[in-house]
Symmetry: C2
Subunit: 335 residues, 2 copies
């Protein structure tokens, strides 16, 4: 196996440090005769046992048009296997990374890897939701930790196909809220929904929030980023959108503070798009994807926005809440 990408980190403040939960994607070293797909060996009791499926390149019927996916005889596999790894920094720029996988995938539901975590701190507990892939599909699962050493898995909270879940950092009207991104098949392109929960484990009250917009930067697919931030004007969320050219960019969404199903404003143009060489060229090119944002401890207006660049590396851009709200005020696109 070789690392093909370190990407899409969740972010949190832990003590005086900024903690990132990185997605580390590994791929078997390929050869000219075959394409090799990695997965967890569920039959083994080792910590992180692997097995491989080899597809002969001349077998025919292999679809490798998307580098992240292998399609064969109507079935889908992932070309890489991801785990989660903690990185810590006192300045938000220089990080020390755990030398081993902090959280390897585990069990039947995570056999194709775990990806794209989000961290929501509520009281002393850090809730980590993450995408889990397996032959049963793409689900979102939850784990919790207090010390970033011991992690307790709480199971699948959104069944297939569902990813891009972000849990709000506080209850509203006695209920927890989360964004999620179900797949409505051919009825509608992937859209953002909102759900409520009494306990973060069981979710209901599902409502459709926003859909991709034809002829905009987010016309093909959208999904939540990091957990939203409470501001004086409403819940501010950074989300990603995919354009008709397949480029991933970031935009902002403003929701009513008491009723987050009310959309107050939505970016007409991206707040951040791929422009640097490491954003335009990589494992999946022309991609910026954010699932980790922290507010500066000294000045809560200042944001550090961590993001995966071209599915290859992690980068950070600074912005302010005021600036994002200004951009929404100028162009209050309602839907």
């Amino acid at each position: 196996m070789e690392v093909v990408g370190v990407l899409n980190p969740a972010a949190a403040i832990v003590g005086n440090e900024i903690l990132l939960l990185l997605r580390v994607a590994e791929m078997p070293i390929q050869n000219e005769r075959s394409i090799i797909v990695p997965m967890l060996d569920e039959a083994s009791s080792d910590t992180y046992p692997l097995r491989y499926i080899e597809f002969a390149r001349d077998a025919g019927g292999l679809d490798t048009s998307d580098p992240r996916i292998l399609r064969y005889k109507g079935r889908m596999y992932l070309t890489s296997l991801s785990h989660l790894r903690v990185a810590r920094s006192s300045d938000g720029v220089h990080f020390s990374i755990d030398p081993q996988p902090t959280i390897p995938p585990h069990g039947e539901m995570e056999a194709y890897g775990i990806e794209d975590a989000r961290i929501t701190q509520i009281g002393d507990v850090y809730y980590v939701n993450y995408t889990a892939a397996s032959r049963h599909g793409i689900v979102t699962s939850l784990m919790e930790t207090r010390d970033w050493t011991t992690f307790t898995r709480r199971g699948v909270i959104f069944p297939p196909q569902n990813k891009d879940v972000a849990i709000f950092p506080e209850q509203i009207g006695g209920k927890y809220f989360a964004f999620h991104r179900p797949d409505a098949g051919s009825f509608e392109p992937p859209s953002m929904w909102l759900a409520t929960s009494p306990d973060l484990i069981h979710w209901g009250g599902h409502v459709h929030l926003i859909s991709p917009r034809a002829n905009f930067w987010d016309s093909v697919r959208i999904g939540a980023g990091a957990p939203p931030i409470r501001t004086e004007e409403g819940w501010l969320a950074i989300y990603h959108g995919v354009s008709s050219e397949g480029h991933y960019a970031l935009g902002a969404l403003l929701l009513d503070i008491d009723d987050p199903s009310r959309v107050l404003a939505r970016s007409e143009v991206p707040t951040f798009s791929p422009s640097a060489v490491y954003e335009q060229d990589g494992f999946f090119s022309n991609t910026v994807f954010c699932n980790g944002v922290v507010q500066d401890l000294a000045d809560s207006n200042r944001l550090k926005i961590y993001y995966g660049a071209a599915d290859r590396c992690v980068a950070m851009v600074e912005d302010t809440i005021d600036n994002l709200l200004d951009s929404l005020r100028a162009k209050p696109v309602m839907v």
Copy 2:
């Protein structure tokens, strides 16, 4: 509009009567030039307002290979619009049917109709879960009633794509349980999952239960039928499976009484398949689909199994719990 099918009834005992909640499917009268698709007019405040989309047959790009669905430019529509209607009987054979739609579709999430209800009685309350279709996809929603006159909608309990939900009639270990049938896209053919809930509104603890089996009668797609029945050997459930020829048949599933995620037995061959002319020839031919079963008040071993026949009409077949358990004992196919 004309009625094209009365099908897939939920069933319950209400007082001394058997109550069916029928799905009534209506379709606009078509013409030679166009295909007309019906949907709810969400802009109107009438009880059951309709609007229509007309597709010119010579426009090209229309896919009508499945009579239930119209595909056009990558989007999916339903060719018929369903509502739910109550029918009552004292003998389980002769029914009087409400002259008007008892429960018409309502609101954004039900704009393409409501279908295939299941009834779970818990105490004095009848919980009715049903499939709701709209441009946002296929979801399962919940309503409740005590008197079959007033119905309270409790919202979407399983987000897209999810149908074939059946709620267990009692709590197990302090939690409610339900079968559901998420769509895992190209990862796995549609499979049965199990979820838990503290309140029937919010669902979590999702686990994969059983998948279609290659070279069996249920190789393409499976889904739960009516709510499962408590027996001395475990939870007995009748489910549907679709074969490689596209035929819908019924089979049985036996689950551990204390831990329904443990599958004890599963029908190797169907317990009931299309054989009568009204099962083999209809709107969607070679189909028997069950979502309503009642136990005889005088002899709880005797079951009345109501089912949709060829997506056209409702029929009933009698069987016994003993007979179904015997069939599973003879062939305990485990997965």
